[in-house]
Structures are given as structure tokens and as C-alpha cells.
């Protein structure tokens, strides 16, 4: 517990993250107003007691839309991080196990290649080919996460391979696949969790950006990015339409970043300074 309090960022980060994750979970069972029902009589209302964040151009409750949008954002970012980890971590482990080998060389070159494509460009290409959808946004963000995790895992694993206890495991007759799974992976998992929260927050930003330009979630699926895009033409007379979805993105991303910083401080105090 003492350790938990040492990090000034962990608690606020965790609180923000829990609020938005909670909103997403609650929205699966209950929202204040149904977001698929239009109520034109109540369109573009400013915040009031009945609608704390106001209503949009179709009379839908903004608070309810934000709760449902949280679900979209979190689902897209979570699956994208999952893709990155599931594909990237084994690649990184394999590359480190045969350092300098053909496989290592190949994996690292492929990584460089993916890095040369900004994630947004990958998304643009995927939508040009397969059309715009939340699924394609997930794939685009996920592909970009693969080299991030591969590189991180490889780097961390390489420094572990020279340790004595790995040598001992080798002498005991374990193969490199088993050593990677039983000894390397558990020891890099802290790093992976920290990077995971950071990629998660980047994923939420990316999803918002893609949905904003119409390459991500399609209507009627509620999404923070789409809400911002829809609000743009009305910003001069209904700024609240743009205010709340933007704040939701900002606070979620901020929360995840603070949480990531806090976790890193706890896992490895030495790294405290290193993050930029």
C-alpha cells in the first residue's frame, strides 16, 4: 500500500480509468435514454437537469451517447492492443532467442517497414480497400501495435538472455522455446502491462481520429469521434455538443497515461526518469 501511495499518478489515473470503464460496462445494461430513439421535439437542448450534458441534433441524450461511445472506444482500443500483444510478443521472444539469426533479422526488418507507415496511413489504405468500419479501424490500429510490442519484448528479452539463471536453465537442458515461455515471458510481463496501457490510450486517440474523419465506427454505432464530427457544423450555436465528447476522450486518455506512469513507477523505480 505504501508503494501505491508513492506514485502520485497511479490513484488519479486509476480513478479516471475506472469511471470510463465503468460507464462502458453500465451502458451495456442501462443508459439514461435509449440512443437509438430519436426525439426531435427535444433537439439541441443545452445541459439541464433531465439531460445533464444536453441533447444532440436528433434529441438524443449526450450523456447516454458518451456512455455507449465509451464502449466503442474501449472495445476498439482493447482488441487492437490484444492483436499487438498476441502477434508482437511471440515475434519479439523468437527474435531474442536467436539474436542475429535470420529470423531476428527478418522480424526486425518487417518492424522497420511497418514503422515507416504512420498508423493513420495504414487505416487509410485498409478503408480504401475494404471500406470503413469499426472492425477495419481495429485492424489498422492493431497492425501498428505489433512492431511496438515485438521491439519492446525483444529488447527486454535480450538483456535477460545474458543472466545467470537463464544459463542455469539452459544447462538444465531446457530448449529456447521453453526458456522463453517459462523464464523470459514472466519477467517481461510488467513492461508489457505498462506499454499496454500506453498503447491502449493511443488506440483510443486513434479510434477517435479515424471515426472523426469517417474511417472508423459507422452510424448508428455511437462513437466519440463521430459525435465530434457531427457537432462541427453546429459548434457556433451549440458548443456543448463538441465539449462533452472531447472531454471524454481527453480524460480517458489522460487517465490511462497516468495509470501507465504509476504502474511503471511501482514495477521499476529505476525507470522513473526514463519515460519521456
Amino acid at each position: 500500500m505504501n508503494l501505491l501511495l508513492q506514485s502520485r499518478t497511479l490513484i488519479p489515473g486509476a480513478i479516471l480509468t475506472v469511471i470510463f470503464a465503468g460507464a462502458a460496462i453500465v451502458s451495456m445494461f442501462w443508459v439514461p435514454y435509449d440512443t437509438t430513439v430519436l426525439d426531435i421535439a427535444n433537439k439541441i437542448k443545452s445541459p439541464s437537469f433531465a439531460h445533464p450534458f444536453g441533447t444532440d441534433q436528433f434529441g438524443r441524450d449526450i450523456l447516454s451517447m458518451i456512455m455507449v461511445g465509451a464502449r466503442t472506444s474501449i472495445a476498439v482500443a482493447l482488441v487492437a492492443v490484444g492483436i499487438g500483444m498476441v502477434a508482437g510478443v511471440p515475434l519479439g521472444l523468437a527474435a531474442a532467442a536467436r539474436k542475429g539469426g535470420l529470423l531476428d533479422e527478418f522480424i526486425m526488418r518487417m518492424n522497420d517497414l511497418v514503422f515507416a507507415f504512420p498508423s493513420l496511413l495504414i487505416a487509410v489504405m485498409i478503408t480504401a480497400v475494404f471500406g470503413a468500419s469499426a472492425l477495419n479501424a481495429i485492424i489498422a490500429i492493431g497492425i501498428f501495435n505489433i512492431p511496438v510490442f515485438a521491439r519492446l519484448t525483444r529488447g527486454a528479452a535480450l538483456s535477460l538472455w545474458s543472466r545467470d539463471y537463464i544459463m542455469a536453465a539452459r544447462v538444465a537442458g531446457k530448449g529456447s522455446a521453453r526458456i522463453s515461455l517459462e523464464h523470459i515471458l514472466p519477467n517481461v510481463s510488467n513492461l508489457l502491462i505498462v506499454q499496454g496501457t500506453i498503447q491502449f490510450s493511443l488506440g483510443i486517440l486513434a479510434e477517435a481520429g479515424l471515426s472523426y474523419v469517417g474511417l472508423g465506427a459507422q452510424p448508428p454505432l455511437a462513437s466519440w469521434g463521430r459525435m465530434l464530427a457531427d457537432s462541427q457544423t453546429m459548434i457556433s450555436f451549440a458548443p456543448h455538443l463538441a465539449l462533452f465528447p472531447g472531454l471524454a476522450i481527453l480524460l480517458t486518455v489522460l487517465g490511462l497515461n497516468l495509470l501507465g506512469d504509476g504502474l511503471r513507477d511501482i514495477f521499476d523505480p529505476k525507470l522513473r526518469r526514463a519515460r519521456t
Binding site: 487509410v124 480504401a128 490510450s201 472523426y212 474523419v213 457537432s231 465528447p245 497515461n257
Partner: protein, 315 residues
């Protein structure tokens, strides 16, 4: 140095080759025949064939790749399926919006990040440091297109200092154009400046912990003198790498920001091309941006090797 240069040049060529193959194949799997699309439903078979021949759509996949890649090398990007004008001309016009925008944003980001990072590092642990770091936390978390919308609300709609969107055009004069790029450039620069400030600060702090700084202090230099004369230059190396990487993010990020401000840049071109299924335009813009990214990173690597001879030996 020469050997290092040629090694990097070879890997540059390989990256470009691989990237072009990936982009070509990705768009090759799209169903549909551009010639049929251009001529409509009632086209005759022989007209279709003639157009396919003209667009270079006949032949094996390898032949088509070679003619596309060969065209790129000579500046011939093909003919747009919807506008029937050379893609190179379309891109050329748009580049004069996107490239200045990215450079403007990079300049702003540097002008903000260098002083802020140095200030925070020189007052490590103080309220200044905590304040600067807090602001950068916000800057990284804020979606830049939302920040752009808020700026439009405040500076264009309420205060009327800037127009809410559109581009004056370079014919209208340098300052008019710069003015219409100012809000977009600030929006683009904000997250990048935040990241760069953090890099600058942590790199400077690392350098300030080195032995040669202690030596400088021991021979009587003040803290400030040691920082300006010895630490700063050494701290710049990681900062330059990040700047190189950021330039590519600025070019790509401009795609979204251009949409907020209705700027006629590469980003809007790409979106118009996607909705019109004008894939050759998408293909060319993506290739151009990837080319820019690879070239910038190559130049940064070379600049390093020039600055720091130790790096030449390594990959």
C-alpha cells in the same frame, strides 16, 4: 563513413522497394475494373480494352507493378480514374498546402519544446518542472482535432481573428497563406510539442548526470554555464531522432487536421479519392508519404553519423 553511407543507402532502397510492393499488392486485391468504372455500364468491349491498355491495366501483375514503380521513379504517377488528369499534377498542387503546414507545425513545436524542456530540466523538482510536465500530460492526451475545433470556436467564431477554414492560396500573398495555416499548425504542433518537451527534459537531465558535467562543475563553471556549454549539445541527439519521427506524424496527422479546416491538402485529396474509389490517387499519396517518412529517417541517421562518429560502427 563512406561504407556506413552505402550500407544505409542499400537498406533505404530495400525499404522503399518493400513498401512499394506492399502498397501495390494491398490495392491490387480490390475488386472492380477501373476502366469499366470510368466508362460506365454501356461501354463497348473494345473501348474498355483500349482504355485498360492506356491505363496500363493489362498484363501480368509483375508487369503492372514494374510499370507503376517505374512511373513513380520518373514522376509519372498515372492518370486519376475520376478526374482524368495526371495524379502527379493533383498531388503537386496539394503538396504546397500540406508540406508548409507540416513544416510550420514542426517549427512551432520546436520553438515551444526547446525552451520549455530546458526550463523544466534546469528547475528539476520545482513547481516549474511540475507545471510544465502537467501541461505536457494534457497536451499528449488531448485529441488534436478537438483542440482545433475549440480554437475555431474561440479565435475564429468568437474573436474573429482568423477564418474558420479554407486556404487563402499562395497567390494571395505569403502572410495571408501563413495566417490561414496558423490555427491548423498550432493544433498539429500541440501534441508533438508536448512529447518533444518531455524528450528534451529527460535527455538533458540524463546528460546533466554525466561525469563530464561534474568535471565542468569542478573546474568552476556554474550550473547554468555547464548546461549551456556542455550538456545541451550532447542532449540534442535523442531530441533530433524524435523530431525526425515527428515530421512523418505531422505529414500524416495533417490528413485529419486538414479536414477540420477544409484545407485543400493531401489529406482532403485522399478522402475525396477514397469516396470516389479513385484508388490510384490513394496509392500514390500513401506511397509519397511513406517515401517522405523513410527519407527523413535516413537523413536523421546520416546526420547522427556526422555528428557522432561512435554511431558509424553500429547499425
Amino acid at each position: 563513413m563512406l561504407r556506413y553511407f552505402f550500407k544505409r543507402l542499400l537498406s533505404l532502397a530495400l525499404s522503399l522497394l518493400a513498401a512499394s510492393v506492399v502498397i501495390f499488392l494491398a490495392l491490387e486485391v480490390v475488386p472492380g475494373d477501373p476502366a469499366a468504372y470510368m466508362l460506365g455500364l454501356n461501354a463497348q468491349e473494345d473501348t474498355l480494352n483500349a482504355l485498360r491498355e492506356q491505363l496500363g491495366l493489362n498484363g501480368t501483375i509483375l508487369e503492372r507493378y514494374l510499370s507503376w514503380a517505374g512511373g513513380l521513379l520518373t514522376g509519372d504517377f498515372g492518370i486519376s480514374y475520376t478526374y482524368r488528369t495526371p495524379v502527379a499534377d493533383m498531388i503537386g498542387d496539394r503538396l504546397w498546402v500540406s508540406l508548409p503546414l507540416a513544416l510550420y507545425a514542426l517549427t512551432l513545436s520546436t520553438l515551444i519544446a526547446f525552451p520549455a524542456g530546458i526550463w523544466a530540466a534546469s528547475r528539476r523538482g520545482s513547481y516549474v518542472d511540475a507545471g510544465v510536465m502537467g501541461v505536457t500530460q494534457l497536451g499528449v492526451a488531448i485529441p488534436n482535432f478537438w483542440f482545433a475545433m475549440l480554437m475555431v470556436l474561440v479565435f475564429a467564431i468568437n474573436l474573429r481573428w482568423f477564418s474558420a477554414g479554407g486556404f487563402a492560396g499562395w497567390d494571395e500573398g505569403f502572410w495571408a497563406s501563413i495566417k490561414s495555416l496558423t490555427l491548423p499548425a498550432i493544433a498539429l504542433a500541440l501534441p508533438q510539442a508536448s512529447i518533444l518537451t518531455r524528450v528534451m527534459r529527460s535527455s538533458l537531465l540524463d546528460t546533466l548526470g554525466e561525469d563530464f558535467i561534474r568535471t565542468a562543475r569542478a573546474k568552476g563553471l556554474s550550473k547554468g554555464q555547464a548546461m549551456w556549454r556542455h550538456a545541451l549539445r550532447n542532449a540534442l541527439i535523442p531530441v533530433l531522432t524524435i523530431m525526425g519521427l515527428q515530421f512523418s506524424f505531422l505529414l500524416a496527422g495533417a490528413i485529419i487536421i486538414e479536414n477540420v479546416f477544409y484545407l485543400p491538402g493531401l489529406g482532403r485529396l485522399v478522402f475525396q479519392a477514397i469516396s470516389a474509389r479513385d484508388l490510384i490517387v490513394v496509392e500514390s499519396v500513401v506511397m509519397l508519404l511513406v517515401f517522405a517518412v523513410i527519407m527523413v529517417n535516413f537523413s536523421v541517421d546520416l546526420a547522427y553519423a556526422l555528428v557522432d562518429p561512435r554511431l558509424r560502427g553500429r547499425r
